[in-house]
């Protein structure tokens, strides 16, 4: 399965990355060999093999349902590009 320039553009839209037509062609060129390498994996017979999503077979621990975090919004908003009255500013989305 070869990666097309259209595939690159579709993925870029899904990933919310602006990409010019020239960049899409460059990405497609550079990833061609990478996808050929990835395709090799498909020759392996994996019938009945349980997918391994994690290095250790851990069950996710649950913690007690109580408040552990304090209000630190002022601290965290120091890194925000645009803030007003404790709110993050974004372009208008509802007319």
């Amino acid at each position: 399965m070869a990666l097309s320039v259209d595939d690159v553009q579709r993925a870029a839209h899904l990933a919310r990355i602006e990409i010019t037509p020239a960049e899409a062609i460059d990405v497609q060129n550079k990833l061609e060999g990478v996808f050929r390498m990835i395709e090799r994996m498909r020759a392996v017979d994996t019938t009945g093999i349980v997918p391994m999503s994690h290095a250790q077979d851990v069950s996710l621990p649950l913690r007690e349902d109580r408040v552990t975090e304090s209000d630190q919004h002022a601290l965290h908003q120091r890194n925000a590009p645009a803030v007003e009255d404790g709110l993050y500013l974004v372009p208008k989305v509802i007319e």
Partner: protein
């Protein structure tokens, strides 16, 4: 003194032959000069370091010091350090100041280590040469026209040039071990879950592992003693009794004349000794194996039939996880935001187009593609199944051997710019290191010689899950009879 190991410095500090203020001050001066050439540090915190050094000296005087108290340290810039800039080598986080510290940073600070600064890295830890840093490549102290390796290139170069005795790194597919090999230092990737990932900027969460750089295996063990431990803030942190990772090292020190590796079975996978590895590297590895045998170890051939698929599996799983993790950089809560945009969607797209570099974008696109509708089973699920087969190969191999030995990287350091236009060629650098990440098992790279160009060669020692003490012991015994790890690059000898 300045080129001494952590263990040696620790003895000098505790005996009051040296103060942390003196040591830290001289290293900060060295960093200031050397960094103009190496570009290993992105942030140097002279004021903070001197204050910590003063506090360390007071702690030593009060008799409450740990073996790491007063030892200068650098953190890879993917590790959050409260109040200090944490850039991840990216324009996206160029001005990001960490609001809290990573677990490993907290632990090393609590042990009394002195944080001198943050080291350069491939953007978001994606790369094998440090050329993907927004802040420019790190140069290799052994030959400054060469790369230092990546992604933790700054930490590796800083330890190699003796700018700090120890540093942290993170290893997702080889990002500690490969730069350790290319820069001629030791780099330890522990078992997944032994060191908490809390406060690491995430790349691929099922693979990311914090670890340590030092001149010696003993130093890596000392750092791991402080870095390891359960942390409820990382759901994959393992909860097991604390270990002293130096215990086997000390055990054998008392019995140096005996064959210290007697009873240790070294596995040699035939897959690691084929064509594709530079002949100079193959020779150095063979010589090291002979060295292990003379220390009493036995060798056994093992087979890892699926290990060749590590690269394709890794380049499906890691971009998939990265595309999800890096979705958080949207220009709203932190990081870069484009100056001009039309609407919200346009703001996201322009912000991410400007904030991320070319390699990070490529990996996000690969990850997005393999996870997208209609491709999930063919790529992501398939990769997870092959990942299990690779883990099974290793499980079987460790029934016949205690450690697995081979080269860390198929080549020594290459020239800056040589591989930058061919991602596949760059990815092949990690061919021997990726499997430890897929299987979540520990591995160390240690210096074992030099090639014809005078560039260092790395030997990789892998072990089964939680076998850190064993691989550190094998590395340590080798270092007791060799001096490759003692060599200092000519341009950086004090």
């Amino acid at each position: 003194m300045i080129t001494s190991s952590v263990a040696e410095l620790s003895r000098a500090l505790l005996a009051r032959r040296l103060s942390s203020v003196e040591l830290t001050g001289s290293l900060l001066d060295r960093i200031e000069t050397a960094n103009r050439t190496l570009n290993a540090f992105l942030t140097v915190d002279r004021e903070g370091a001197m204050a910590q050094a003063k506090a360390a000296d007071a702690r030593i005087a009060a008799g409450t010091a740990s073996p790491l108290t007063g030892i200068p340290l650098a953190h890879k810039d993917v590790i959050m350090t409260e109040g200090l800039r944490t850039t991840c080598g990216s324009r996206m986080l160029e001005n990001f100041v960490a609001p809290y510290s990573a677990f490993v940073a907290e632990r090393l600070a609590r042990a009394g280590m002195v944080l001198v600064g943050k080291t350069n890295m491939d953007e978001f830890a994606m790369g094998s040469s440090n050329e993907n840093s927004y802040f420019g490549p790190v140069r290799n102290p052994w030959n400054t026209t060469c790369v230092a390796g990546g992604s933790s290139g700054g930490s590796a170069a800083a330890v190699a040039a003796r700018l700090v005795p120890a540093a942290t790194g993170t290893d997702t597919g080889g990002s500690i071990r490969q730069p350790a090999a290319l820069s001629g230092v030791c780099g330890l990737k522990p078992t997944y879950g032994v060191c908490s990932r809390y406060g690491l900027v995430a790349f691929a969460s099922s693979l990311d592992t914090p670890g340590a750089f030092g001149q010696t295996a003993e130093d890596c063990a000392l750092l791991l003693n402080a870095m390891a431990g359960h942390d409820s803030r990382d759901s994959t942190s393992v909860n097991r009794p604390a270990e002293d990772y130096t215990r086997l090292l000390r055990e054998y020190a008392a019995n140096a004349a005996a064959k210290p590796l007697a009873g240790v079975r070294i596995g040699l996978p035939r897959e690691y000794f084929g064509a594709g590895t530079e002949p100079g590297i193959a020779r150095a590895i063979e010589a090291a194996i002979a060295g292990f045998r003379s220390l009493g170890a036995t060798t056994v051939e093992v087979s890892l039939p699926n290990v060749d698929y590590s690269l394709p599996v890794y380049y499906v799983i890691s971009p998939a996880e990265a595309s999800s993790n890096l979705a958080r950089f949207d220009g709203v809560r932190y990081g870069h935001r484009a100056a001009k945009y039309d609407d919200l969607m346009d703001m996201y797209k322009k912000t991410r187009a400007e904030g991320f570099g070319a390699e990070v974008k490529r990996r996000i696109l690969v990850g997005t593609y393999v996870l997208s509708h209609g491709y999930y089973d063919a790529y992501y699920l398939k990769a997870q199944q092959v990942r299990r087969l690779i883990a099974d190969d290793f499980r079987k191999a460790y029934q016949r051997c205690d450690v697995i030995v081979g080269p860390t990287s198929p080549t020594t350091a290459f020239c800056i710019g040589d591989n930058i236009d061919d991602p596949l060629k760059m990815y092949l650098n990690d061919i021997f290191t990726i499997a430890s990440n897929l299987t979540g098992t520990p591995a160390i790279s240690i210096p074992c010689g030099f090639d014809g160009k005078g560039l260092p060669i790395g030997l990789q020692i892998q072990g089964n899950a939680f076998a850190e003490a064993q691989i550190l012991n094998v590395a340590h015994r080798y270092q007791q009879t060799t001096d490759w790890h003692r060599r200092v690059p000519a341009g950086f000898a004090p």
